[in-house]
């Protein structure tokens, strides 16, 4: 276990070291590509600025995560119980999936203004589809004999859902949620590019136009850490909830 973590850390360290050496040896100017040490220093110096902006992005990403996955799970439950609803609304979900998020961002800013709302909606849209697909699959991935068992036991729909379908869908749900953690941070940042006065996306735009390359890299790194922290939180939650070995492993 410790060895595994040590090996993962060694890989990242090696890349950072190679990067640092390349920049120093070939004297690459910092405004083009800053060395990891410069990025680290900027991170410390600019921390008050970054901190002011990271909170906003975090709220938007988490809001989008909750909204997008909540709607996806709810819709999956409806789909599994009503094939008619599935036939009507599944194509709509697919259509939403095919709309390029970057293209829809300005539309949503026009519709919803410059506040939290368009960012949350974009983060939600981007994490919605994988969860919908996985959740439907999870709820349907019930052994036929388990359904026969429920029939023999004269279980009602509610009992079949809570005692059979929902628990067996959890491994599928969590594999979708893990994908959603990274994508909703991306969604929030992209939405901030279109129109915002705070947030990591806003900071990226400002840093780019003002040639503050160190800040640009530092902000990007913080965005990445944000997604990573979010991912780990979901992994910890999964470990706490899915304590059995699933009979069928989700992909």
């Amino acid at each position: 276990m410790v060895r595994r973590y040590a090996m993962s850390a060694a890989g990242i360290l090696a890349i950072l070291l190679a990067w640092e050496l390349y920049i120093r040896v070939f004297k690459v100017p910092h405004y083009l590509v800053p060395a990891p040490s410069v990025i680290g220093r900027t991170l410390v110096e600019e921390w008050p600025t970054i901190r002011r902006n990271v909170g906003r992005t975090l709220v938007e990403a988490v809001g989008g995560f909750v909204l997008g996955n909540g709607v996806a799970v709810g819709l999956a439950i409806v789909f599994v119980h009503s094939p008619a609803m599935q036939r009507v609304f599944y194509p709509v979900a697919v259509a939403i999936r095919t709309v390029p998020i970057i293209a829809i961002a300005p539309i949503l800013v026009l519709l919803l203004g410059n506040g939290y709302a368009p960012k949350v909606v974009i983060a939600a849209l981007i994490s919605f589809f994988p969860t919908l697909v996985n959740m439907v699959r999870g709820l349907e991935a019930v052994e036929p004999s388990a359904l026969e068992l429920m029939r023999v036991l004269s279980a009602n729909r509610r009992q079949i859902f809570f005692k059979l379908r929902l628990p067996s869908s959890l491994p599928f749900l969590f594999s979708a949620l893990k994908i959603a953690t990274a994508s909703c941070v991306i969604g929030a940042i992209v939405a901030e590019w279109v129109g915002a006065d705070t947030g990591l996306g806003y900071l990226i735009i400002v840093a780019t136009f003002e040639f503050r390359t160190g800040l640009l890299y530092a902000t990007t790194a913080v965005g990445s850490f944000l997604a990573l922290g979010f991912f780990l939180a979901v992994v910890i939650l999964e470990k706490a909830v899915v304590r059995w070995k699933p009979a069928t492993l989700p992909p």
Partner: protein, 246 residues
């Protein structure tokens, strides 16, 4: 008896008439596809016939099912992997709304199937034979009058299977339920049953009805007797010429 499928009606059992006495142990033997599992599901009201009639103690299968007359044991144990052994055994009572009163019963049943001490284990920690014992305990928790078993030991190795056969006879004697048992093993059918019905290939007809008059309680030594060999030979003859369709 006919039942409908998405691809049209299927005649699963033609002219099969069958009456089972309370506390009787009856086995259905036949090639796969002969409708023996279907018959079991028709009795349990998992499938509904479009033609033909089944009565369980004078009631329709649907009424009997809702009165929790049946215990069903599937070929795979069908345990819920997120539940412990005890929680799996208690599932039928939970669904019936009386799990709190059942704990003592469940522990007693786990004792009966020889799994005392494994209450907290999860299915993935148990062997195939142990999982099937849990499934039997779960089927018995509602004190069913009829235990329906669909090749319950088909997936087990020979040694475990023999052991489970003995255990099942012991459990049957202890609980006094009626058992309808599906198998495709002649020796298993002879060893367990009061009566064996050989079903032919689709549409299934009863080809042979063979009462087994071996003395009870039976132990594995009975398999070395001449009568046992005579019974299995009779079953084999009835099965011969019956090839599996498709």
């Amino acid at each position: 008896m006919t039942f409908s499928t998405p691809s049209g009606p299927v005649k699963a059992l033609a002219g099969a008439t069958l009456a089972i006495q309370p506390r009787e142990f009856v086995s259905l033997l036949g090639p796969s596809g002969c409708g023996k599992s279907t018959l079991l599901r028709l009795v349990a009201d998992i499938l509904v016939p479009t033609e033909g009639r089944i009565e369980v103690g004078g009631e329709s299968p649907g009424v009997a099912r809702r009165r929790r007359v049946f215990g069903f044991v599937f070929q795979d144990s069908t345990l819920l992997p997120w539940r412990s052994t005890l929680q799996n055994v208690l599932l039928p009572l939970e669904i019936g709304g009386s799990a709190r009163r059942g704990r003592a019963d469940a522990l007693q049943l786990l004792e009966l199937v020889g799994l005392r001490g494994f209450e907290a284990a999860h299915p993935w920690q148990l062997s195939g034979g142990m999982r099937q014992r849990v499934a039997i305990a779960r089927a018995l928790i509602t004190r069913p009058q009829v235990l329906l078993m669909d090749e319950p030991f088909g997936a087990l190795d020979e040694i475990t299977r023999e052991h489970m056969n003995q255990e099942l006879l012991r459990i049957w004697q202890a609980t006094g339920t009626t058992i309808l048992f599906v198998t495709h093993s002649s020796p298993e059918a002879v060893f367990l049953s009061d009566r064996v019905l050989v079903l032919g290939a689709r549409p299934g007809r009863v080809k042979l009805e063979l009462p087994i008059e071996l003395e009870r309680p039976r132990d594995p030594a009975v398999k070395e007797t001449v009568e046992f060999a005579r019974y299995t030979a009779a079953l084999r003859r009835a099965l011969a010429g019956e090839t599996t369709p498709e």
